[in-house]
């Protein structure tokens, strides 16, 4: 048996090499760092942590901990409460805001934060060189759009000025009911001028990184971990509940649930991280929390394409959709069927009724349009994007369900076309589709964030729909300082959008799903915007 002995020696040598490799990697990868107080699984890797640049929700959840605006979102309701500004006055016409900064504001590195820093931050977000996707959030400022588009070069013409080190005067184009909400939005957060001017686009790599919010960045390792530690110089540091918070980018729902169940993570707050196959079981657990969310899933029509240029056809299709079946059979997370675009519970608003399931009326309308029983109705395509994450199959399942409903009720044939995300977006922008899956998440708690996009020619319209009455109503609403009258105008506009002349079929309102054990974690509250300020979050002592 010497062969085996020799072979064994050979194997041992190989094992030695293997062991050596392991040893090397051990020495390379050992990380001596104290564990965090709270570990949060946050969804996709943030594209950036620059408040002016970010667009995604995982990004803004981190940024919210590092930078603050004149207002900040309340942890419970997500409504704006005083942030860097302790008070403000609003002129009777709703167009002039005067903010008073707190006098004890300093960066985490010790330098004072003054009115000039606020003006700098806002102007920076508007500068074309910054190339901020969300610069539109500052178009409500006087000359904000013109400055961003490069039509005005002089920043002093933009409606934000420091009157003295603690007073900021803001002049708006229109009375803007949600302006205080915007002041809490990331694009308007206050960022450190010196660091940005010194390091340019790589300013977030500077250490120490001055932060204006409750936490400062310790490190940011791509696709691995973001570690934040309490900023002791934050004006409200006394109320910051945790010393160190780890934020892990996790893209796979299965990994998220495994990590959570094995105690490697305390909070999981991205709905994409709920495996949809397990949703029925998981939602029965006490640590899974669902809540209403400011987002709508809907279908777009390309109204420039026959036969969808006929409102009767579009209404017929909308009336033939049994939304309850979709939420019960497919989404199953407690989503609410949607008859209108603006979710229930949106501030300053009461949405109108839309087109509920009514097969008889649907058939009648289709016949009136010249297609009795679906006869001669051309075959058409439904376009949807391939998605990753926990909800990967949802788009496809919804598509199949719609296909079946329209075939059974109206006798019309629909083909399905699945596309890569960028290709799908391109096709939608070029109006190269008939029907398309769509969704919209509100940026702030106001109907404008939903209804504004269907104004003629808006970049997010993507239906070819143009209704002069709608445009007029939205413009009037945006100039109306009286909230009740404004709500009425928006409601009339939305009636056109979901009932009279619909370019869309709302299907359901999203729910948010977070999971964490309320016996172990406090300070995470469910709200419409799914915003969770980090400073209130704490691991309960008994759980340690």
């Amino acid at each position: 048996m010497t062969l085996f002995r020799r072979a064994w020696r050979f194997v041992s040598r190989a094992r030695f090499i293997f062991g050596l490799g392991l040893l090397l990697s051990v020495s390379a990868c050992s990380r001596h760092e104290p564990p965090a107080d709270v570990t949060i699984l946050n969804g996709a890797e943030p594209e950036s942590l620059d408040p002016a640049i970010i667009t995604g929700q995982p990004d803004s959840r981190v940024v919210l901990g590092m930078f603050e605006g004149l207002t900040r979102p309340d942890a419970k309701t997500a409504r704006p409460i005083p942030g860097l500004a302790e008070s403000w006055e609003i002129s009777p016409d709703g167009k002039i805001y005067t903010f008073h900064l707190r006098t004890n504001l300093v960066w985490s590195t010790g330098e004072p934060i003054r009115a000039d820093d606020v003006v700098y931050s806002w102007i920076r977000a508007l500068r074309p060189e910054t190339a901020s996707d969300y610069a539109g959030q500052l178009y409500y400022l006087k000359n904000g759009r013109e400055f961003n588009e490069g039509k005005i070069k002089d920043a002093s013409l933009v409606g934000v000025h420091a009157l003295d080190p603690f007073t900021i005067r803001v002049e708006l184009e229109h009375p803007t009911a949600f302006f205080l909400d915007l002041c809490a939005f990331q694009t308007l957060n206050v960022v450190p001028r010196q660091t940005i001017e010194k390091y340019g686009d790589r300013w977030l790599m500077a250490r120490p990184l001055p932060s204006s919010g409750p936490f400062e960045l310790v490190y940011w390792r791509l696709n691995d971990k973001i570690r934040l530690k309490k900023n002791p110089r934050y004006w409200d540091a006394a109320n910051t509940q945790s010393e160190v918070i780890d934020i892990l980018p996790v893209g796979a729902a299965n990994a998220a649930i495994n990590l959570y169940l094995h105690g490697q993570a305390d909070i999981v707050w991205d709905k994409e991280l709920v495996p949809v196959e397990l949703i029925d079981v998981l939602l029965k657990r006490p640590d899974f929390h669902t809540f209403d969310y400011l987002g709508t899933y809907f279908v777009r029509f390309n109204v420039t394409k026959k036969p969808f240029d006929d409102p009767r056809v579009r209404r017929a299709l909308a009336l033939a959709v049994d939304r309850k079946r979709i939420v019960k059979k497919i989404t199953r997370g407690g989503e609410v069927p949607a008859l209108h675009l603006v979710p229930d519970g949106t501030a300053n608003y009461l949405p109108p009724d839309g087109l509920d399931y009514n097969p008889a009326l649907a058939k009648k309308l289709l016949a009136e349009a010249g297609y009795p029983g679906g006869a001669n109705f051309p075959r058409f395509e439904y376009m949807f994007n391939a998605a990753a994450g926990g909800g990967a199959k949802t788009h496809e399942n919804v598509a199949v369900e719609l296909q079946q409903m329209w075939r059974d009720t109206l006798g019309i044939q629909m083909d399905l076309r699945q596309m890569e995300f960028n290709v799908y977006l391109g096709a939608m922008d070029r109006l190269d589709y008939s029907l398309a899956r769509s969704s919209w998440i509100g940026d702030y708690n106001d109907p404008q964030t939903f209804l504004g996009m269907f104004v003629s020619g808006d970049g997010n319209n993507r239906t070819g729909w143009s209704n002069p009455d709608y445009d007029r109503l939205i413009a009037a609403a945006n100039n109306e300082p009286d909230l009740a009258k404004r709500a009425k105008l928006f409601q009339q506009a939305e009636t056109l959008l979901v009932q009279t002349d619909p370019p869309i079929i709302p299907l359901f309102f999203y729910v948010g799903i977070n999971y964490f054990d309320t016996n172990k974690i406090s300070g995470v509250y469910e709200n419409l915007l799914d915003i969770h300020p980090l400073q209130t979050i704490r691991k309960l002592k008994s759980a340690k």
């Binding site: 050979f10 594209e47 490069g150 290709v423």
Partner: protein
Amino acid sequence: MYFLKRILFAVPLLLVISALAFALVHLAPGGPFDRERSPASPEIERSLKAKYHLDEPVWKQYVRYLGDLAHGDFGVSLKYRNHSVNDIIAQSLPVSLTLGGLAFCFAMAVGLPAGFLSAARRGHWPDYVGGFLSLLVICIPGFVLAPVLILFFSIKLNWFPVALWESPWHMILPTVALGLYFAGKISRLMREGMLQAMQSEFVTAARAKGLGENTLLLKHACRLAVLPVVSYAGPMLADLLTGSFIIENIFQIPGIGVFLVNSSMNRDYTVVVGLSLLYAILLIGLNLLVDFAYTMLDPRVNYE
């Protein structure tokens, strides 16, 4: 001399690869700044494109890219705008190198002896068991194997962490999940190589001279038998070192494989081209190494 020529030849090859990658990714529909939420003004997209020179003709962008590349600068990621491609490589390549290196060692340490024993005991049970197992692990794809390993070793037995990349303990399951397929491949290659070597004339001659069977197998046949393994090992190592999208995704490992796949989905032009080049460099380098190893192992091979 020969190897020097090969290295020199790699430079135009890399140029061609970069040009192709650059052209292909720009040809793909959509761009890096397409978003579900289109910006409030078309000017915003224009300034974005201007900032990253995407408004210029593609050839001009390519020339600019080459200019930066000559200074060792792979450019800025268009998706992760605070990071340069150099940052991405610097942060995630070491992780993939570690994982890939471990998986390589694992595949060799398991595959070589298994193949050797199968051949040495041809027609007996070690051959059948080895053949069956190696075929099995070749047939199971990573996205099945990895969750099964997690389910069994992490969730049922609680021996290993379920995911993440923090301690040596975290590395074991991903190493096995990634390396097992290659172990199977190597075992089969090794077995075939051994069988062929054992039939070659010099082995027969050695046997006729009365050399002991064991010495024959280990000293003479083995050396010839590893040649197919060696030529397979080069590209395999390049594959392993540039990370695996599936394994990295399942175990949440911050390696480069995720970027390699996602960057093309995101139309992150600079990252696609940069990582393609990185992969090409590794592949060319390792192939060169393989050819070099050939000269050491097989006296008949001479490139001069």
